[in-house]
């Protein structure tokens, strides 16, 4: 039982050490710089959404005007 446990633990350790070898932006994330990127993209996205909403409202306004003309 303990042998099984040890072997499974060592297998786990092996897997995790293999995983560590894959290069990821760990330092970049640890320094918190990723939040700058996230905030920047969210700002651009917010801008695009606000613009889309304004276009949506403008079209709604035109639709109302069009319907008033038809009456």
């Amino acid at each position: 039982m303990s042998l099984l446990l040890i072997s499974s633990l060592s297998a786990f350790a092996q897997v995790s050490s293999e995983v560590e070898e894959v290069a990821m932006a760990d330092t970049f994330r640890a320094e918190g710089k990723i939040y700058v990127v996230v905030a920047l993209i969210l700002l651009i996205f917010a801008g695009l959404i606000i613009y889309t909403v304004r276009i949506d409202r403008k079209i709604s306004c035109l639709e109302r005007e069009m319907n008033n003309l038809h009456d």
């Binding site: 990821m24 079209i59 639709e63």
Partner: protein
């Protein structure tokens, strides 16, 4: 459908899902895989473009079939505007895929069945737009392009989903390459991937709905102009202005 497109609740859901996609897609933990490294996160943005395109083009072809069953200008409007937005998503899918390929495969384009299939499919849909613009008669344009759209959709599916699977492909999920299968099943990726697909697809529907409504307004304006154009011609018949015929 047309009243649903003007509702706001699903647009709010769209924005929430996409904000979640951006935050989760960049910050959540992802599987550590060689070659892909952090670019695995492109999955949340590149693949939803294709899902979005497929959903939009499916809506388009449904309306094209509807047109062939019962022709109306409104149904044709749906078909063209959902196709337009679908094509935009497809182009973004190709561009983002090409950029990603340059990082993982070392080249912007390779003669891969999935890539070439996607390129051919896009060309077929470009031809749909050209076909529409080359026909002047409105009813003829609507009818011929509805038929063409059905054929375009019928070639899109095998080009993207059947042919690449029959042969070897670098692209994950095709041929002998299990690719994403190993981490497609990863719940960490699914946590962001599914909301991303729904969010981007809904955003596509939103954009298509705006184009659709603008098109309807444009048609109403044209009708008005035609009415006014016809009215003075009646006065040329000799009747004094203001008389109703």
């Amino acid at each position: 459908m047309s009243s649903l497109l003007k509702k706001n609740w699903w647009k709010v859901i769209t924005v929430i899902l996409l904000v979640y996609t951006i935050i989760g897609g960049l910050l959540f933990e992802v599987p550590r895989l060689a070659i892909l490294n952090e670019t695995i996160r492109a999955l949340f943005f590149h693949v939803p473009m294709w899902f979005g395109m497929l959903i939009l083009l499916t809506i388009s072809v449904v309306y094209s079939i509807k047109y062939l069953r019962a022709p109306s200008q409104m149904v044709d409007n749906y078909a063209i505007e959902f196709a337009n937005t679908g094509i935009v998503f497809g182009v973004l899918g190709i561009l983002t895929g090409s950029l990603w390929a340059n990082f993982t495969w070392g080249t912007f384009w390779t003669s891969d069945p999935k890539l070439n299939g996607a390129a051919i499919a896009m060309l077929i849909y470009f031809a749909y737009l050209i076909l529409r613009n080359s026909l002047d008669d409105e009813q003829q344009r609507a009818k011929i392009s509805a038929i063409y759209n059905v054929f375009a959709f019928a070639t899109l599916i095998p080009l993207l989903f059947i042919l690449p699977r029959l042969t070897d492909s670098l692209h994950p999920g095709n041929g002998g390459n299990p690719g994403f299968n190993s981490y497609d099943l990863d719940s960490k990726l699914r946590l962001v991937f599914y909301p991303a697909v729904i969010g981007w697809a809904l955003f596509g529907v939103w954009l298509a709905s705006l184009r659709l409504r603008a098109r309807v307004i444009n048609q109403k304006i044209n009708e008005k102009i035609e009415e006014q154009y016809n009215q003075p011609s009646e006065s040329h018949t000799g009747l004094p202005a203001g008389h109703s015929v």
